[in-house]
Symmetry: C3
Subunit: 475 residues, 3 copies
């Protein structure tokens, strides 16, 4: 009881009441979205009722040529990754499953709206009427953009308030749109699955925020910083939906035809390969060869991250296997050695280990992409194939593959720089004592922001039927 009092005092030291701030942020921002959408966002020619006239004008023979039919199945897979994949992957903590899946839901739902605007302004603003015309590809890109913020959330899981997460997302999406514009439009780098644009940026953004928000006394909530049996099974739902649909992620906005087809094959193979090396390293690192669920839940996905940039390229099937092989090893070693090291020495508390799952494999993906691009050749790609794959036309019609490789490498540095600088700035904002974040002793605890159902210790005694059943020994 005395211990209880002491803890209660510690809690009182921090005000986690978000009854004003969270509703205010949600309402103000949602109303802002409505106004900005009213001013800027319209249907594009494929989702507008004028499509039938557009078809006739462009001599398009069938409704199937509407981009909807090329991309909608992939979009839905990506959508599942964002909400169930990321959401359930973060349910592994014993008492933060509500926060894991619930706040993921909140910030993703906000982020996709803001992303449609930000990405629209940078990429799709119609010069004639200053409107952004949206279709299914914009929806996919908005999901992609939000993914970077969800990655960043992984580093902060359990240590921040939902209001802080909304701020993290607002700035994250903004930074993403600028970074993406520089990488894809100015540098003309290719990054279909976002190894650099999404994963590297998102991970360093989150890690830097976590570094700024360092909590020296976090061990006070150490008893909540692990999983229980069933929370680990819940997290596997997230892992598997991410793993299964990653081929859709890396191919969703790839070129129609062979581009999407090849991106799927490459990602499928890289993922399969990283599963085996993850199991191997996990087993070799433990007493009796026992496997660690943290590794299986996370490092098995490294192959998908690392295949993000090169997924469209002719990296060959065995090349994909090699990428998965290496990234599975690197990622699992990260969980074993780097995460503890970073926490102790670098003062970076990375709840979900995003450095291992997104940062390192993302950087690998960027490097693999640069090398694969630099070594592309007409003999492998075919003359037209090379032009199509790298979009060597218009302003970059004369670019060589070597120069393309250089720009790919430059893009990687842009992603890292945006993550570090952006994270430092946003971390500074989030450090202000106005956001209702939890005390150290209260981290990883749903009870702070959620009405948690009472655990029913006395359930059986009030339920005579079942009581009866359990009184018969079953051995």
């Amino acid at each position: 009881m005395q211990e209880g009092n002491y803890e209660n005092k510690l809690k009182m030291a921090k005000n986690t009441n978000i009854r004003i701030s969270l509703p205010a942020v949600c309402f103000v921002w949602q109303i802002a979205m409505i106004i900005l959408f009213g001013v800027f966002i319209r249907y594009d020619e494929e989702s507008d009722t004028h499509w039938i006239e557009h078809r006739r004008k462009k001599n398009i023979s069938t409704n199937l040529e509407n981009d909807f039919y090329y991309r909608y199945p992939s979009f839905q897979d990506v959508h599942v990754m964002i909400f169930v994949g990321f959401g359930f992957l973060m349910t592994f903590l014993k008492r933060y499953s509500f926060g894991g899946v619930g706040f993921n839901f909140l910030i993703a739902a906000f982020g996709i709206q803001w992303a449609l605007l930000m990405q629209g302004w940078f990429h799709h603003l119609d010069e004639h009427d200053w409107k952004i015309k949206i279709g299914v590809e914009n929806l996919i890109n908005a999901d992609f953009c939000v993914a970077s913020c969800l990655i960043a959330y992984g580093a902060c899981l359990g240590k921040v308030s939902p209001v802080q997460l909304m701020v993290l997302t607002l700035f994250g999406v903004t930074l993403f749109a600028v970074e993406e514009y520089i990488i894809l439009e100015l540098l003309h780098a290719k990054d279909a699955g976002g190894s650099m644009v999404i994963h590297t940026f998102g991970a360093y953004y989150g890690l830097t925020i976590s570094w700024v928000l360092y909590r020296p006394l976090l061990s006070q909530s150490k008893h909540l910083q692990g999983s229980v049996y069933h929370s680990d099974v819940f997290a596997m739902i997230g892992t598997l939906f991410l793993w299964m649909y990653w081929p859709s992620f890396n191919s969703a906005i790839a070129d129609h035809g062979d581009g999407q087809h090849r991106a799927v094959i490459n990602t499928y193979l890289a993922l399969a390969s990283s599963v085996l090396t993850t199991f191997a390293i996990s087993s070799i690192s433990q007493n009796n060869g026992k496997l660690d669920m943290v590794h299986i839940q996370n490092a098995t996905l490294a192959g998908g991250v690392a295949m993000g940039t090169a997924s469209e390229f002719m990296i060959t099937p065995y090349g994909s296997l090699i990428v998965g092989f290496c990234s599975g090893i690197v990622s699992t070693f990260g969980y074993l050695f780097l995460t503890p090291f970073m926490e102790k020495t670098l003062k970076i508390q990375d709840t979900c280990g995003i450095h291992n799952l997104h940062a390192m494999p993302g950087v690998i993906g960027g490097i693999v992409g640069a090398i694969t691009a630099a070594s592309a050749s007409e003999s492998v790609y075919g003359q037209e194939g090379l032009i199509n794959t790298f979009d060597f036309k218009d302003a970059v019609a004369n670019r060589t593959v070597n120069i393309q490789g250089g720009y790919q490498a430059a893009a990687l540095f842009v992603a890292i720089a945006f993550g570090l600088v952006g994270g430092a700035l946003v971390g500074g904002i989030l450090k202000l004592p106005i956001w209702g974040d939890p005390a150290d002793v209260n981290c990883f605890d749903d009870d702070v922001y959620w009405e948690v159902p009472e655990e029913d210790e006395n359930f059986l005694s009030r339920h005579p039927n079942m009581n009866h059943a359990t009184s018969i020994p079953d051995v």
Copy 2:
């Protein structure tokens, strides 16, 4: 122990033995389905081996023009919503997860068969050979039809026997088919995502049944009428799969091309918007701004329901955001104030709060649809676009948008009327004391209809390894 005896007596008052009735109903109805399918149901021209001749005759250049490729991805998403979405959404009760997901499975599997027949007789009966020719669109419509019965199940969850649910479904599907025929064929109203046809009808059907079956002593099973931590996480699986795939629901049978494309965009936006307002109202209503899982699990979906009718229309992206904004607020307020009010004053016990998730957003959807239709114009839709969107041809070739708006409003009243009258009739049938429904003290308890595994209190003591592990303090 005394209490236990008392409770046992109460239970004995009701016979919940369904060993004869449930198998009898299942067998008789399944055999009836086989006979009726034998008489009436055949493949349509796109799923028949004569497709190749049909293609040649109609000069269709590619297999892709088979409707299968337009609709199959959406069909599968809808299928997931019906079985995993609705099923897991109903697992939130601490001891009724088997019944939630299991009975949902049973009645949906029966309902889709009966729906193929009922909808076939009303919409697709071939005049020449009196056969119903089915293809993928019929499968989607059958799933839609069943959705209305699953909504009705939500009001009765935990308080009825599986035999009653089968009866509820038999009549529910029948009523649905008639109502749908009146609304879509006679009134020629548009309702691609079924705000009126599915949600409004289903909700009032279930609420009226629940009203007829009112249980004054339901508080006797109050200790089972809440969630536990993990059952709330299970329910989030249902919520998210409904939320993610709702764009497919509202676009699955929309017009090829821009119709499906636009329905997806509108629904995606409305859903995103209702997430933010749900979080806002949930937080503002509680002490310290704590969020309530009941709201997050349900009211976040209101935007999808409310966008059902207008999803195909040119409601504009910001219009969709506004619809989601309002329906999220209305739905959450419903959970806060209306559900307790209805239980106390109107004697309607609505276990899942379908009035808040389906009835009110469904009515909003019907009204939004009527207004949007009435305000449609050639300047926005284009001449052809207007005709295509509202199918102003054949018998209704000369209908104006204003008249269409009127018919949309009339359709809403038809849906409500069918729900109320149908629910009263079916509720009366279900009140007969022959269906094996549970006693008041036994509601919300899987133990009545399921072999529930014994909870293993002494698990650790018989499992020395783990016992050992837990004896080491981990703090």
Copy 3:
């Protein structure tokens, strides 16, 4: 405590340390995969950058004619069945959920790589350059092939080490490829959904292995051989994703156009029908008509298995209902009577009851396929339709439907024979005392191969807030 010591002694009798063997197997086999992929596997013409030239050469008008757009949505559904469907179906045991979903993940990820090679050598080896050219159809076939090994895993669940599972998969995939070659290429039998090739083979392969590995003292771990409440709900995730996506499974590699369309309709109906008969038999077999989760989780799927061979045929919608009707009954009766009989009399310990879910319905599917094929006629199929459906061209251009029926029956025997003989051989290999399998007392226990999180009995006492909450009675 004494009991604990005794158990510990028993455990020491078996060495379950896999710290060398599992990583060694994973690394060696993954490196072998990389080398073999390097030598043999390339992109096919639809996933290669030369696709654009190929299109021009073949006069293909649109990118949509790339097989990717015909098959990718079905592929993703199948992928979900393999990893989430099979994986979560095996989480039902109270303390083997990690092993169920985790080892399923490991062996599927390895198996698909090996399957691409084995199936490629037998079916797709290019005679000119001795390369295997892969596209999306190969990915589906690899998933199919792995399914047979996952079925076999079901019989061994909880009783084998992950190293044994890797060996089971290596040989299982090898045997599968040969068997599939004989059935599909030499006998020219049709088996789109693999009733024979996948389910019958996989089930008898696993059952024979389980028979060879018979454990007379398995009752020592009987206390772990059941479910708990939440593990049964997890298993329903597996059940439902298998059930919902089975139409995709049976149609994924069916003929473009009406073939895929019809396979979906037939499977959808057979599955719906088997749900009703499963509920009926489950209820009739128990006291008070209570339902058994084991039946609902498994036998409801029997209709999908039994429709595997005939899914493409003109079996008619009511024919599909009849197939589902019978297989649901047979499968549930299997769980009630055959599984206990087999364990006691035949010494076959079948953890998941794959004999009831895969073997018997698979055989039914083979027989139904043979009969349906033998009774096909030009009057029903149309002249071209008959040729297309059964591929009566080239070497088998003159085959009659009767002869086709005979070959279908022969194929069923090939599948059974491969399962029995292959299972005996592989069972013998797995019986060697070098694989680190658990002692009898240690079966069905994740603690042997996994770092299991400590169950936190004292959670509440260290968490004053919640303690406080639960001290208020909620009745």
